[in-house]
Subunit: 185 residues, 2 copies
Amino acid sequence: MVRPGGRSARVQEAVHSAVRELQAELGRAELTIPLVAARAGVTPSTIYRRWGDLQELLSDVAVENLRPDTPPRAHGNLAADLRSWAEQFIEEMASPVGRAYIRDALLGAPDGDNAARCSQYAAEQIAVVLARAAERGEGAPGVELVLDRVVAPMMYRILFRPGDLTADYARGLVDGLLDGSAAGR
Amino acid sequence: MVRPGGRSARVQEAVHSAVRELQAELGRAELTIPLVAARAGVTPSTIYRRWGDLQELLSDVAVENLRPDTPPRAHGNLAADLRSWAEQFIEEMASPVGRAYIRDALLGAPDGDNAARCSQYAAEQIAVVLARAAERGEGAPGVELVLDRVVAPMMYRILFRPGDLTADYARGLVDGLLDGSAAGR
DNA sequence: GCCTTAAAGCGAATTATTTGCGTTAGATGC
DNA sequence: GCATCTAACGCAAATAATTCGCTTTAAGGC
């Protein structure tokens, strides 16, 4: 039986909050499960049983932090909408905080769906942008193509390349996609 | 003073081998530093001092495992070479073992260069393919463009999408790149 | 309101990690 | 070669984290 409400929910909320607070106060290096437990007013064994280890817990919190809180801004045409979204995305994700969240999110159980949720968030935002284009009658690529051509390169560089990423790069990816074939497959 | 040779090198070799052996015998879930130390004939504190924690050690081993052992096969033209390389890449990397290595490699210290080395390996292999094309006088895209259009999408899906990746997908990425503009920027 | 039971609390036992200090063996200069 | 220097290792004690059996609590179904 699943018990999503009541005490379980309160514990989860308390633990997540404790992680966020301590992360801000001490940085991740100092985080330990006993410490989080104490701050959350919970016994360590509760966290061990529910999350398994610190990685899993951090992964959960990171995914929550990565959830977009607003729909993408509308600018009247597909190119502007996509550019704007990609620029904001790269700015958030390539920042030290963003990189840390992404890493943490990936750190969760490989068979879990934390990483998939991250991709899902991006896909949903892109779908909104593309739906607006369709309403206006603009030819637009599919969500998958935007993921391949815009999101994937940004993520690849964030994860595998140390250097910094600029909004220019994000804009270039969008332009490269839209120039080629406005009405993608 | 750095001491790459002698005892240090032997210890590193012994520890790495121990990790590989135990990973194969017990799986990663059962791996602990004391266990690795015992197998390597080394005291745990040696590992703690040199690597810090299990993540860092696994990351080192993973990067080593990800190093390509042979240059990309040559087939006489750019399209065939790239396709062949991408197919082999996705086959190795999207497998359960490959996915695990990639995750482990990324898990190392964010300011370390383990992740960058992975990207470096791919870039070098691609550079070889592109150099062959140049020798033949074929127009060819730059390494960065191949990373963006071929490697990044594969990696993105490996990391963020649970489903399976096929050689067809890899081939499609290569074809999409070469169709657009044979003489890329 | 009374069961049932998933989830939390508690504490002891186990295991991992840190740390100070002595020792070993590559490296360097003569 | 030989003496010297010192980074890296070994050892062991102290500390901290993790596991586990058992008890208690409270959410959800009747």
